[in-house]
């Protein structure tokens, strides 16, 4: 692949990842759900170095059904923590094109610095995020998003947003 094409792919992917971040920070969950391919997997592993998500414990290991149930939980008003959800602000950066899958999907890694605000305090969640993105027209759909929290193996706190 030419450098030019790779540069363009990465720029488009970065733009898409920024969009995804914005949708989550503004809690536009319906739009967020629409970013996914039906077989997409949203994974937040406990161990930041994990490779076998299916046979290990994750914070989230979501197929389409779990994603939509998760969104319902966050928006239904039935959850006391989600009804007073933290405000979040995430910066995404350090985009790197790792390669392509056999199906031609982009494999990208980015950095994510997320700050939540709730109960008079800020908390920080920092993660490497790995993406598999499928081209669709001028944009992408998410095949896989893996959020590898730096402190995933240690004690976190109740999370009332989607990292």
């Amino acid at each position: 692949m030419s450098t030019l094409v790779a540069t363009r792919d990465l720029a488009l992917a970065a733009e898409f990842i920024a969009l995804e971040a914005d949708l989550l920070d503004t809690r536009d969950y319906a739009a967020w759900l629409a970013l996914w391919v039906p077989e997409g997997k949203y994974v937040v592993p406990v161990n930041p170095d994990e490779t076998n998500f299916e046979d290990t414990l994750n914070y989230a290991y979501d197929d389409a059904a779990m994603r939509s149930m998760r969104v319902r939980r966050l928006t239904s008003g039935e959850s006391m923590s989600a009804a007073h959800a933290a405000r979040t602000l995430r910066s995404v950066s350090r985009f790197r094109l790792l390669g392509h899958t056999e199906q031609g999907e982009l494999q990208v890694r980015s950095a994510q610095q997320l700050i939540e605000y709730k109960f008079d305090r800020h908390r920080t969640y920092v993660a490497n995020v790995e993406w598999v993105l499928r081209r669709e027209g001028e944009s992408f759909r998410i095949v896989r998003k893996v959020v590898r929290l730096l402190n995933g193996g240690d004690a976190l706190a109740g999370i009332t947003f989607l990292p």
Binding site: L57, Y59, S76, L156, G158
Partner: protein, 410 residues
């Protein structure tokens, strides 16, 4: 000034200072966590000789290991020279321990084996510098430790909780129970708020409404246990059991009942390698037990996982939700267990964040009316020994606080 602890714990209520007073917290560390049996590990975390993990007893860092003779030991994670922690990783396997500061080297039983430049010491007896060993005993794979050489034997301490532990372990489905992983989180609140919660069925349909809404019809019915014959029983020594789903007390009974629809796919997958009897036993075990056994002060065998609490300060507590499964059992069954655990537990579960929010609110509320507003424990005041029929009775909390009072005034 030491407070009169017996005046702070009444039969039906406790004083707010139990959540807020740093001096009481210091006394709790001393008189409870440094005095009684504290759960530290499950056998499956140390399958081989020389395996070790790091954890805490109360506030003190310890190493739990299986020494080269196969004996489980619990030792302070602190070099006898200048006091550095010896292990900082969560787990490992090693034929001995070397302090990274000056390379004092210990055997797996904690005896000091060697040190650099020994001629720098006069009359040095290595026998004086063994790593501090706690008393360690285990019951059915549950490993406990205590600093107290005079504590009763572990089995006596567990007492009437033992048969419930036996029942809980039937969720191995014919295999030994094995730790599959854990979620860990902290909340800004006192440790006893969490201690109460695993024997609090009353909150379930309120706090966990969003979880209940996410379940299919049959499972939702299973978790509608407010009026389903459950009960709470005081088991002595601060321990208690809360039975929420009576038909899931003994997982080896009712094996001929139809397999629930939600497990049909799993059952099909298991049938490839297992007899119909085994499939039924495994599927029923995947569901988990229908009760919580609360062991004072830090462990709950809670339906399908171990809940472990650690007091960090008067208003900060760490909670671990340890997922368990079948050691050597079918991968599909263990995957199902992992997915069920992820659904409810942990910082992103459909249940835990709401619990954590409620507990934090209890702590925040404790700033108001310290002397006038007490923490009420009078629900389902004991009319019969077992409080038969009332799963929402606060019997388990009363049992824990009576043990608290006994230990704090001893």
């Amino acid at each position: 000034m030491t407070r009169d602890y017996s005046a702070l714990v009444k039969d039906d209520r406790v004083h707010t200072a139990l959540y807020t007073d740093p001096a009481i917290f210091e006394d709790e560390i001393d008189r409870i966590f440094n005095t009684t049996w504290v759960w530290v590990a499950h056998d499956s975390e140390l399958p081989n000789k020389n395996d070790w993990i790091t954890t805490h007893v109360g506030r003190q860092p310890v190493i739990v290991n299986r020494d080269k003779a196969g004996t489980v030991r619990v030792m302070l994670n602190r070099c006898r020279h200048r006091g550095a922690t010896i292990c900082e990783a969560k787990k490992g396997n090693a034929p001995g321990f070397v302090c990274p500061y000056h390379a004092w080297t210990y055997g797996t039983d904690g005896t000091l084996k060697g040190l650099p430049l020994p001629k720098g010491y006069k009359d040095f007896d290595k026998g004086d510098y063994t790593l501090v060993n706690l008393r360690a005993e285990s019951y059915r794979g549950l490993i406990f430790a205590t600093f107290n050489q005079d504590a009763p034997p572990l089995e006596e301490f567990l007492g009437r909780a033992r048969p419930w532990i036996d029942l809980f372990l039937k969720q191995g489905g014919g295999y030994p129970v094995k730790v599959l992983g854990e979620h860990k989180f902290t909340f800004p609140g006192n440790w006893k708020i969490q201690l109460e919660n695993t024997t609090d069925a009353y909150h379930f349909p309120i706090v966990h409404k969003s979880f209940l809404s996410s379940l299919d019809g049959d499972t939702g019915e299973l978790f509608s246990f407010m009026d389903a014959g459950g009960y709470v029983e005081d088991l002595g020594n601060g321990h208690s059991v809360m039975v929420m789903i009576p038909e899931l007390v003994d997982l080896e009974e009712n094996l001929d009942e139809p397999i629930p629809e939600r497990f049909a796919e799993l059952a099909d997958e298991l049938r490839a390698e297992h007899s119909e009897d085994e499939v039924r036993r495994i599927v029923r075990a995947v569901t988990g037990s229908g009760f919580n056994v609360n062991l004072f002060p830090n462990l709950a065998c809670s339906m399908a996982f171990f809940r472990v609490l650690r007091p960090l300060s008067v208003e900060e507590t760490e909670v671990r939700h340890i997922a368990i499964g079948m050691d050597g059992g079918p991968a599909a069954a263990n995957r199902a267990r992992l997915r069920l655990h992820e659904h409810f537990q942990g910082p992103m579960g459909f249940g835990t964040p709401d619990d954590a929010e409620a507990w934090e609110r209890v702590q925040r509320g404790s700033q108001a009316g310290e002397d006038s507003v007490w923490i009420m424990l009078n629900r389902g005041e004991d009319k019969t020994e077992s409080n038969a029929g009332d799963v929402t009775a606060e019997t388990g909390m009363r049992a824990a606080y009576q043990m608290w009072k006994r230990m704090m005034t001893a």
